[in-house]
Each structure stands twice: as C-alpha cells, then as structure tokens.
Amino acid sequence: MQYFDTGKYQVLFVLVMVAFILINIFRAQNKDIFIRRIAGLNAIEDAVGRATEMGKPVLMVPGLGALNAISVQALNIFAHITRTAARFASPIRLCCGEAAVFAVAQEVIRDVYQSEGVPERMDGDSVRFVSDRQFAFAAGVSGIMLREQTAATFFMGEFFAESLIFAETANSIGAIQVASSTENTQTPFFIAACDYVLIGEEFYAASAYLTRKPVLVGSLVGQDWGKMLIASLILFGIGLESSQRKGWVEQMESDPAAKTSMMRLFSPEPPDPATKPVRQKHPEEGEAQ
C-alpha cells in the first residue's frame, strides 16, 4: 500500500527550500551574518585598479544566455564592477550576445553612472550588442579585446564553447581574467585558463558578498540551509539504497519494470489512462472530428 503520492515530493521539497530562503531573508534584517571570503570577488577592485593605472578598458561579458536569473545576476555583478570603474574613471566595455540582455544592461549601466553622480563619464557605446550568433559573438568580442587591449576581463553568465576563446584571447593580451559559468561543462575551461573563477553557487553569492544587503545575505544563508537539506537527503538516500540494494537487484532481475520506492520518488509514473475523466466535446469541433 502506498501512503504518500511520491510525485508530490518535489513540490514539497521546493516549497521547503522557498521557506528556508524567505525565513532567512527575514532573519537577516536584524542580524549580521558572516560570509566566507571569495577570492575572485576580492580581485575585482585590484583588476579595475590595474586597468585604471594602465589606462585601458575593463571588459565584461554576460554570456550568450537569454534574459533570465543567470544574466540578471551577471548584470548585478557588472553593476558593482562598473561602480568601481566609474569611481576610478576607467572606461568599460560590456558586450552582449542577446538583445534583451543588451537593453537591460544599458539601463543598469546608465543608472550606475547616475547614482555615482558622474553621468558624463558614461560612454554611450560602452554597452554593445555584438551578435546573437555564437561564434560571430566570440569573434566580435575577441576582436574588441585585441584591438582595445583590455586590462581586466570579466566573463560571468551562461557560456558555451566560446568560453575558451574568450579566456585564451584575454590571456594572450595579459589581461586579468575573472570568470564564472553556470554551465558545468565550461567551468573546467575557465579554471584552466583564467586567473580567478567563481565556481557554482559562488556566482549567486557574489551580489550578497559585494553589497551585504540583508535581503541578499539572508537569501544566501537560505541557500546554505537548502544545500544542507540536500546533503542530509543524500546521506539518508545512501542508507535507504544500501539497505534495499539486494532486494532491488533481485527484483530488477526478475521483473525489469519493478520500481522501488527510491525510483518512484524521483521518477513518478504518468497517470493511468483509465483514470482519464469523461469529457464532452465542443459541438462544432466534435462534429468536425
């Protein structure tokens, strides 16, 4: 007999994670919460300072992804970098491969210069739409790096095969590279080729680390609670899996369609066609069929 609808576990799990995040956002309003040091983010000021000393631009690339949580997070980090660059009067270049990201980036960068009280320092062409085709974008951005000899480069967001082209081109001109990709296939390339890399959730921790806003810091702690929950569930799962492994193997050998509770938990079965309700048809469409 099945006591729980295992297909609903994922909903429950997400709701628990959401609760963790909201509770910690509330907690962080009245409490100072510690965040460990992230080397890649500490390097931002050094990199921008170096670019200022050399009189060369700072390049930022938010990847090829559409306007989603990842590119918004990348733009949050770039806003902080731009603020530092605006204070040092360093020129910036922000190259976009997606029109929607470009539109938002233009507004964000303009807002940063205005909030710093130096709108006249903003170059209207500092935020550029290069191309929405992957390798045309890669060629365009590499060309900008080589022509303008950028001193500091920041690659953050969704990157694919073009990541190594960017990283190696930046390395060839001696630029400091700080990178982060949410695509785990590209993270090793960045680790191999760049000076500093934000791995995995460090990318999402960046805005909390840089701004120390209670909402962001609380959300970060909520994420950590979520990860602790995941780790606990993994340990619990290891125990369950180990305890029933023998039975599982025997079941699978005798009947490949047999499902253990662990398999049902993560692969809920589609509804039984026999439970489909009886529905009437719209008169005109019913006749047409």
């Binding site: 994670m17 739409f129 959730e201 990318f203 921790a205 959300s219 048809k281």
Partner: protein, 299 residues
C-alpha cells in the same frame, strides 16, 4: 473565459487586434505619464502576475489525456486548460518582445559602426565591411523569403536541382551556408588549439592540487587512448588477470581506473556544483519574482 484564438480573417479577430492595439498604446502612454516612483511598483505587479502564471502551471494539477475540442469536466480541469492555453500565448508575447529588443540591438550596432565610418575612426574599414554585410544579409534574406513564398509546389520540387535555383535562393545559400557557416566553423576549430595551450598552463606542476590534476588527467587520457589502454591490458593479462577474472590485478586496468575517476570523483563533483547552481537559481528567481531585489544592482 476569453478565448485566445479566433478564426483567420473573422470579425472577432479584427476586433481583438484593434482592442489589443488600443490597449497596448493606451498602456504605453499611461506608463509614460506615471510618476517615476510608481513605475517600480507597476513593474513589480506585472512581474509577480507573470511569475504567478508559471507557478500556477507547475503547481496546478495537469489535465491528462486532453484532446482537441474537449470541454473541461470540472473546475480544476477548467483552470488547467486555461493555464495550458495561456502558457503558449505568453510564449508568443515573449517572442514579440524579443523581436523588438533585437531591433534595438541591431540599431545600436549600426549606429556605432556608422559613426565610426563617418568620422573615419581607427579601423573604420572593418566597420564598413560590417555595415555592408548587415545590409546585404538583410536584403538577400528577405528577397529569398519572398521568392520562396511565391513559388508553386512544382517549382519548389524543381529547386532540388541546384541549377534550377533562383538567384535569390542561390545568393542566400552562398552567403549563409557558404560564408557565414564556414567562418563560424573556423572559429569553432580554433578551440582545439586553445584547449592545448590552456591545458599546458593548467597542468604545470606548481602545487599539490595541480599535481593531482595532472596525474588524474594523464590516467584518464591514457584510458581513452585505444593503443595505450590495449597495451596496458595485455600487461595486466600477462600478470594473471586473464586467467582469473576476479584477480585483484584486474582493478589496475586503465579503463577500470578511468571509469572509477569519472564515476566516483568527476560526476559527484559536477553534481555538487549543479546542486549549488540550482539552489542559487531558485533563490535568485524567488527574489526577482517577489521584487525583493528592486534596485539591487544600482542602488
């Protein structure tokens, strides 16, 4: 509930287009006249409602076995049908917005390079080439589309023979497949050389971590090289691995070590990163949906 689609050319469709346009322009001008401090609240409301739709789609029970023309059997199914239909319309809305934004991107690109050409700034000939390419691709692409749209089925069939292709189609193939795709493939192939130089830098023995990386990388690379793996296996066979399949020495086969590294070290590591990224994305999405990050980047 309001239907999302009407019969092509029908009066209700024309009325719907007119009303939508009027509403759109009305909303546009109303937003222009709204005091700046109210605009974030309006944006937050729209963001919340749009997000709520997707949360609803995910949480609300899905009507299974739906067929064309079905009338919902009860309220739950009615909402499920509506959510399902609305999702595709939302997707269309998103595509329309993206098209407008693409126009903005192309405008920015053309303005930047046109200025560079007109003022004859550094490297202006490259900008001129870009402008000519943009104009040519747009013109030929549109010409090709018009040509193919106006062709009869037998003419389309005859086009399988390339000698029968109209000039517009031939030109589009030349520019797109012959030039653009080839240049993109050339850019892609550069990655092979970059992998080599990046690997060289990464594998230099500078620290304990780099040494472990180097050692495991060499084992995995050799394990994937057929010749090395074959000779190593012969050596293991000669050490008694072939006679006794359960011999301990069989664990030293290159493919076994490679598989162990990939299954027990690489995959768990990547999954751990995936968990972190997933939870981070959830938190970020929640902050955006509830507009908790208002002014987050610029304030």
């Amino acid at each position: 509930m309001i239907p999302w689609s009407f019969e092509s050319g029908s009066t209700p469709l024309k009325i719907a287009i007119f009303v939508t346009l009027a509403l759109g322009f009305g909303l546009f001008f109303a937003l222009m006249k709204t005091p700046p401090r109210l605009r974030p609240k309006i944006a937050a409301t729209f963001t919340f409602l749009a997000g709520l739709l997707y949360v609803g789609i995910w949480l609300w029970p899905t009507a299974h076995g739906r067929e064309a023309g079905d009338i919902p059997a009860n309220f739950t199914e009615g909402v499920a049908f509506w959510l399902e239909d609305t999702q595709s319309q939302f997707q269309n809305l998103s595509n329309i917005l993206t098209s407008f934004l693409l126009l903005m991107g192309v405008f920015s690109l053309v303005r930047l390079h046109a200025t560079r050409v007109s003022k004859q700034q550094r490297d202006w000939p490259f900008s001129l080439v870009l402008l000519i390419c943009v104009a040519l691709m747009t013109f030929i692409g549109y010409w090709d589309w018009l040509t193919v749209m106006n062709m009869k089925p037998e003419e389309l069939e005859a086009m399988r023979d390339v000698t029968n292709q109209p000039f517009a189609v031939w030109m589009k193939d030349l520019l797109f497949d012959g030039l653009l795709q080839t240049m993109e493939a050339a850019m892609f192939s550069i990655i092979a050389f970059y992998i080599l130089s990046a690997a060289y830098r990464a594998f230099r023995v500078r620290s304990v971590e780099a040494t472990i990386l180097l050692a495991s990388a060499i084992i995995v690379m050799l394990g994937l090289l057929g010749m090395a793996e074959n000779y190593w296996s012969i050596m293991i066979d000669n050490m008694g691995g072939l006679e006794d399949p359960n011999a301990l020495v069989n664990n030293l086969r290159l493919e076994a070590i490679t598989q162990f590294i990939r299954d027990n070290l690489q995959t768990p590591g990547l999954r751990a990163i995936d968990f972190g990224v997933g939870v981070g994305a959830l938190a970020m999405a929640l902050r955006l949906w509830l507009s908790l990050e208002r002014g987050g980047s610029t304030s």
